[in-house]
Amino acid sequence: MVSVNELRTMYEQMVTARYYEEQLQEEYLVGKQPAFDISAGPIPGELHLAAGHEASGAGVCLHLRDDDTVTAPHRPHHVAIAKGVDLKKMTAEIFGRKTGLCRGKGGHMHLFDPDVNFACSGIIAQGCPPAVGAAMAAKKRNTDSVAVAFLGDGAIDQGGFLESLNLASVHDLPVVFVIEDNDWAISMPKDRVTDVEDGSRRAWGFDLPGERVDSDDAVAVAEAAGKAIARARDGNGPTLLEVQVHRRMGHFMGDAEAYRPEADIERAKQLDSIERIADDLRSHGVEDDELDEIRERAHERVDDAISWAKEQPEPSPEEAYENVFTNPPATAATDGGNEGGD
């Protein structure tokens, strides 16, 4: 059972994430209008926003501690926020700044925060094996930390995920796999590429429990995730969860979704997990004033993070040569250094 306080926590994280994505969307378009040019403006590169996925990040991470590991895929912001990744440094990273989480080297698909054991990878399903490894480390060290790997519905056909199910299962590792099913993999609807509607069905063949949460009701997610994470923490092994979420925006910024039926876009916008959790809070007697307050606090935090990030210095060109190794060799391996920029 999810408590009112937990509902508050989730609500706050969800509105933070939603507002964050909306603000990033605006920031990203700076310099890219009227003609969309991916390499123009302060935030270049791809940007995959997670509006409509918030319930999954909030519902799962509700049960996680800083010492638990999370790996996220290319659409990571809502998970990072719920996991407690430093919002300012994360934003600075997305803006490519020197004080960003990764000193401007990673960007939005590659956010790393060692303080809360968060990492993401832009390669489909490839966060699964490292999550299994973190769980393996926890088990070997006899801690009760767990690991959670997030992935998309399109990722369940990738070997890296499928192999991970077996490795986790055969060693009974404390790891939970969370499939965020938003019905699409870029332009490909699920039924065109995947043989099962319910991704959690894959679990049976790997002898671990599988469960699907059929809506992005944050409470339902939190309950299912709570069980799965407790199971892992208690030493009872891995679980595969699938959560129905919705893609409220294009796959990445600049995606006009010409391939997507209008009705599907509309539906995704109507099914709003944030309104639903707000109703839940109201039904628990939480007043609108308090909801407003939470929302304002969240917005302020996001606004602060963004303005802080924008004030941060860019890395200097020479920094490109740093961090290839933690322990750089005395002999310069990379002595071919390439001075001339354009």
């Binding site: 969309f36 960007g107 001339g340």
Partner: protein, 346 residues
């Protein structure tokens, strides 16, 4: 939200000048019309038309059976392309970004590239692996590589890197008709996408009819007497820019566009180097153990006595960083190329 769909290429066709993307697609469509065995597989190649417009419009003409969206299972579908090719079809399979090769490399190099040899020639693998390469738009280390050297190093694949629309079309016709596996690496920045503007060079006049460009023939994109610049892909255009900047200084650089890495046209490189005595290799792949080393080695093996200076510019053995000042630092730029040519000329 979005101001323009990513899958729209430039629409105007001034006197048959085509973008590289249009030229590629034109060749694919021609071959699909003329050979029932040609079909296409890839992620988002159907309705989307390829993230980098490498398949725009093909679904409409050829339908879902011949233009197939596939699961995000590169091992399975690239391996399936190998199997279909061995069965006599001529699949074109797209790996969305070359950076993803690591999830499917076994199929690529242990099956696709080797089965012809290991079967003693009794099997052929007539397939084309198309893939998008390159940086310059700050997509960071898992989405910005070219990996030219990685593919060229492993035997059994022909490796093609077009730099203009004209070359792109001719090389695609050759690739599809070739009985061997061809890795066709197109640079995103050259495709002529509305949302990722190209430099002016890659959009060229392109004949309407089909034509082939033989593999293993480098193209001298600019003749010159003073310094040889060997390069490929995007950097053909940066080298050309650098060369024209140097004209006023009386430096006459020759720009050699390799066009194919396997086979490699050593003769053209040697002829040029024998003439100029000075070699600069410019590459968007990692510097060490890659393309630049190989070109310099071939020059040293074949023309050591004629060689008075060699230099190279490539990614300095660091993963490609995200932030603009960092990415700009590691990808060779026009300025840096011009400077280096000048140094060589001194």
């Amino acid at each position: 939200m979005a101001t323009e769909s990513r899958d729209v290429t430039e629409a105007t066709e001034t006197e048959r000048e085509l973008t590289m993307s249009r030229a590629m697609v034109e060749a694919i469509a021609w071959e699909m019309r003329n050979d029932e065995d040609v079909f296409l597989m890839g992620e988002d190649v159907a309705d989307y038309g390829g993230i980098f417009s490498s398949t725009t419009g093909l679904l409409d003409e050829f339908g879902r059976d011949r233009v197939m969206d596939v699961p995000i299972s590169e091992t399975a579908y690239l391996g399936a392309a190998v199997g279909a090719a061995q069965a006599g079809m001529r699949p074109i399979a797209e790996l969305m970004f070359v950076d993803f090769f690591g999830v499917a490399m076994d199929q690529i190099y242990n099956n696709m590239a080797k089965n012809t040899y290991m079967s003693g020639g009794s099997f052929s693998v007539p397939m084309v692996l198309t893939t998008a390469v390159g940086g310059t738009y700050n997509d960071a280390g898992q989405h910005s590589q070219t990996l030219y050297g990685t593919f060229a190093h492993l035997p059994g694949m022909k490796v093609v890197v077009p730099s203009t629309a004209y070359d792109a079309k001719g090389l695609m016709h050759s690739a599809i008709r070739d009985d061997d596996p061809v890795v066709y690496m197109f640079h995103k920045r050259l495709m002529g996408l509305g949302w990722m503007p190209s430099p002016s060079g890659p959009k060229t006049a392109v004949p309407k009819e089909d034509y082939t460009i033989p593999f293993g023939e480098a193209d001298i994109k600019r003749p010159g007497d003073d310094v040889t610049v060997v390069t490929l892909g995007l950097h053909v255009h940066r080298a050309l820019d650098a060369a024209s900047r140097l004209e006023d200084d009386g430096i006459d650089a020759e720009v050699v566009d390799l066009r194919t890495l396997v086979p490699l046209d050593t003769d053209t490189i040697l002829d040029s180097v024998r003439k100029t005595g000075k070699l600069l290799v410019v590459d968007e792949d990692y510097q060490s153990f890659g393309v630049t080393g190989e070109i310099i080695a071939r020059a040293a093996e074949g023309a050591l006595d004629d060689l008075s200076a060699v230099k190279r510019l490539a990614i300095p053995d660091v993963p490609i960083p995200y932030a603009r000042p960092l990415e700009d630092e590691v990808i060779p730029g026009t300025e840096g190329i011009a400077e280096t040519i000048r140094e060589l000329h001194e």
